[in-house]
């Protein structure tokens, strides 16, 4: 890539930092230049977030309809999946899956609820009382 071809499309990194890129100068040698961003990347990131937001919305509806427990919603909200949530809580994925069921969730011990709440960065009452 030639230096003059380096894209400068402001994206999510704008006002945060610019990125170092390796580009060819006029003498055909490599040097570094700073880029504000590139639309192609920005759109990839945007579409990833659209997908996240949709998953969160679907999870919210599932809780509202009584199909899933709040654990499922907050897992999606915090961009987690089973292995990540298992890492933060120390609860095995098999059990987490059970805790997605509203009927199992309502009988969860205070200790387990605290583990989830800490992983999600919320209070236990926020977790318990989330209705979708």
């Amino acid at each position: 890539m030639k230096k003059e071809d380096l894209p400068q499309d402001p994206g999510a990194l704008d006002k945060f930092t610019r990125e170092v890129c390796y580009v060819k100068n006029d003498d055909g040698k490599y040097e570094t230049a700073l880029s504000k961003g590139w639309d192609v990347k920005k759109q990839a990131l945007d579409s990833a977030w659209e997908e996240v937001n949709e998953r969160v919305e679907e999870a919210r509806k599932a809780v509202a309809n009584g199909e899933k427990s709040p654990v499922y919603y907050f897992m999606e909200l915090r961009l987690m999946d089973l292995p990540v949530l298992s890492g933060y809580t120390g609860i095995f994925p098999f059990f987490i899956k059970r805790h997605f069921k509203p009927s199992v969730f309502k009988d969860l011990s205070e200790r387990k609820l605290e583990k989830y709440a800490r992983a999600f960065d919320i209070t236990v009452s926020e977790l318990k009382n989330f209705k979708g």
Partner: protein
């Protein structure tokens, strides 16, 4: 080179990739002023390609354009005869105590962190990605001074915030991983040349003859075959999200795949100067070409996830582009191999 003249002050280095940056900045701090990002990347055999089987990341394919996290630092230091200390911890309190000790001694250290809770990152970038690297180089007003190589300037983190990202969970969990050069002996030009040669040879081996079909240059073909099937198998929507994931793995800050090819080109250019060998400089052009081709493929993929391209033939075209890239990279590494450097 006089190692005793070690610079007292730590200098922030901004780089394209975090681990290269940490390696470069730490080695420079310890007096190895010749160290540059391309050199660290090349000596550490950083260029790679792998689509990890059966694993999904953020609900998409797990593709990496670089070698394993930690390998670049380890290999580059080893080839320069630098002794390294690395530690992982089972609990945050002892990890923090060890870090505080190092800070008190005035030693800058590298830390592996997760980005999800990294407060100074923009929210859009904060996914559960655990192989980011930064340097802690001091403490001021109860906050750690941080040099994050992808940032233009230094920044800071509170004790709680740093502890949190050092104990991020999930795949590649850092477990408080901390590392720094321990003992540095004088480095001769001959050692640098040897390091360059062994870095290139290891990279040739990794890309050309790694077993299995999902890594090295063959890994590119593996993904290409997948891309052809995605539209039928997953439906257009999911297939386009998968392509978006490839582009993010490829071009995004800290993971840039197209960018890594340019970086390797820059390394070969520097290597040619050290080795006094124009043949190496010529092969640098092939990597520039590969980098440009990765970027063109990203533009094409963007057409799909923007919803402009929707046909199977578009997926076929992307898959074909990847096969072309594979050929360019394969030939480039074969050329490097046939130079018989160091023999």
């Amino acid at each position: 080179m006089n190692i005793d003249s070690q610079t007292d002050e730590f200098h922030h280095v901004q780089t394209a990739h975090c681990e290269n940056g940490v390696t470069t900045a730490l080695l420079r701090y310890h007096g190895l002023d010749f160290m540059t990002e391309p050199l660290a990347f090349g000596m550490g055999s950083g260029l790679f390609y792998i689509q990890i089987p059966f694993l999904t990341v953020n609900n998409g394919p797990a593709i990496s354009f670089r070698t394993m996290p930690g390998a670049i630092f380890k290999r580059t230091c080893k080839s320069l005869g630098v002794e390294v200390t690395r530690k992982k911890f089972s609990n945050p309190a002892s990890a923090e105590a060890f870090l505080d000790q190092k800070v008190k001694e005035g030693v800058p250290v590298g830390c592996q962190v997760g980005v999800f809770h990294l407060t100074y990152f923009p929210k859009e970038y904060r996914f559960h990605f655990n192989a980011h690297n930064l340097i802690v180089f001091g403490e001021e007003n109860g906050r750690y001074q941080i040099s994050d190589p992808v940032m233009e300037d230094v920044t800071s983190l509170s004790k709680e915030d740093l502890s949190r990202v050092r104990f991020a969970q999930g795949p590649l969990a850092p477990k408080g991983h901390i590392y720094f050069p321990e003992k540095i002996k004088p480095v001769t030009d001959d050692m640098i040349r040897k390091g360059i040669v062994s870095g290139i040879r290891r990279n040739v081996r990794d890309m050309l003859s790694i077993p299995g079909n999902f890594a090295g240059v063959n890994g590119i073909r593996h993904t290409s075959n997948h891309v052809r099937k995605w539209r039928d198998k997953l439906g257009l929507r999911k297939a386009s999200l998968y392509l978006g994931q490839i582009v993010r793995m490829q071009e995004e800050i800290g993971t840039g795949g197209g960018g890594f090819r340019f970086l390797y080109g820059a390394f070969l250019e520097e290597a040619a100067a050290y080795l006094q060998d124009d043949r190496v400089a010529n092969i640098s052009e092939d990597f520039t070409k590969a980098g440009d081709m990765w970027r063109s493929s990203a533009i094409k993929m963007a057409g799909v996830y923007k919803g402009r391209l929707t046909e199977q033939k578009d997926f076929e075209e992307i898959a074909d582009m990847m096969l072309d890239i594979r050929m360019v990279e394969k030939e480039a590494f074969q050329k490097l191999s046939s130079l018989k450097l160091g023999k």
